[in-house]
Symmetry: C3
Subunit: 130 residues, 3 copies
């Protein structure tokens, strides 16, 4: 199952929790695993707090400090920081499915992490189990 | 399946390998995957060496250098470094199950990584396969 | 299923996409998940661009900046940077299997990330689904 996300900035955390929950419900799986995966090399997926938006912005600002724009990269497209952030954050998140529900913790949400936008991104959701 | 871990410090790597092995054995799965997941946004899960404890402490010290306490964060709770470390480390680890056993390498262990303790943390273990 | 990779340098990204694709095809799984896992604590697995090799080298150079050799580590074997990079990158990658194929994006490849070579590394591929 796949859905699209239109990002609005060069770098942005987009809360995709509602779309992921919908796909888990549509799968009919009661017990198993949900994997959220981006088919891109300059974006990622992470699970973190989605209550206070300053959490996501603090994470993003820190990733920008860890992979700054001016570090003398060899790749000529100018988006090496985005590739580095993608590897640091990861291209997928795996979350348990319990009693037919995405078993996120109380404060957890699932984010598409855009590092080289704005773009239309494809997010894949795979649910395995019984 | 779930178990609790009581952490003892603000930041700490807790070796949870024995508990994870026990859950894999209890599942009866012979071949598949084990996912260890924390339902928290200021803790993570990682696989790394559990023979010499200085490995875990070196990783933790480096994470503290990468997400320092005084980087001018917007989030007012003061635990932005913990959220950043959670995204860098990840909220889950996925490990193969082979012949009914957790197929860790010889030097590998599974760690709950506490970044904002001490607290009681919930760890979820999901085993899928046949 | 497992295969070996002989790395050729202290630090190196090795594109293992062909071997992973082969294991997915051998599994006969049409729909599900593929997990690529390294049973080592000084190497990792990541998904990123495998078209232009400067992407991998820029990521590797940045990881070396984030976990420098001379940061005063306690672990006496001298390979703490490699353990730190393993936790930052992760010891596994999870990729959907759709219509019997590894559902990588157009620019994505799977890399074994060697941080303490050269060595012979074991890579495990697990495919679950139907």
């Amino acid at each position: 199952m796949e859905f699209e996300v239109r990002t609005r900035a060069r770098r942005q955390f987009v809360d995709i929790t509602p779309q992921v929950i919908e796909k888990v419900q549509a799968s009919g799986v009661r017990s198993g695993l949900c994997v959220v995966y981006v088919r891109h090399t300059t974006a990622g997926v992470t699970v973190n707090e989605n209550a206070d938006p300053t959490v996501a912005s603090d994470i993003l600002r820190r990733l920008e400090a860890l992979a700054p724009d001016d570090a003398g990269y060899a790749h000529l497209e100018g988006n090496s920081p985005a590739h580095i952030m993608a590897t640091l954050v990861g291209s997928s998140a795996t979350i348990p499915v319990v009693d037919g529900r995405l078993a996120l913790g109380r404060w957890q949400g699932v984010f598409l992490t855009e590092f080289d936008g704005p773009r239309t991104r494809k997010v894949s959701v795979t649910v395995v189990g019984t």
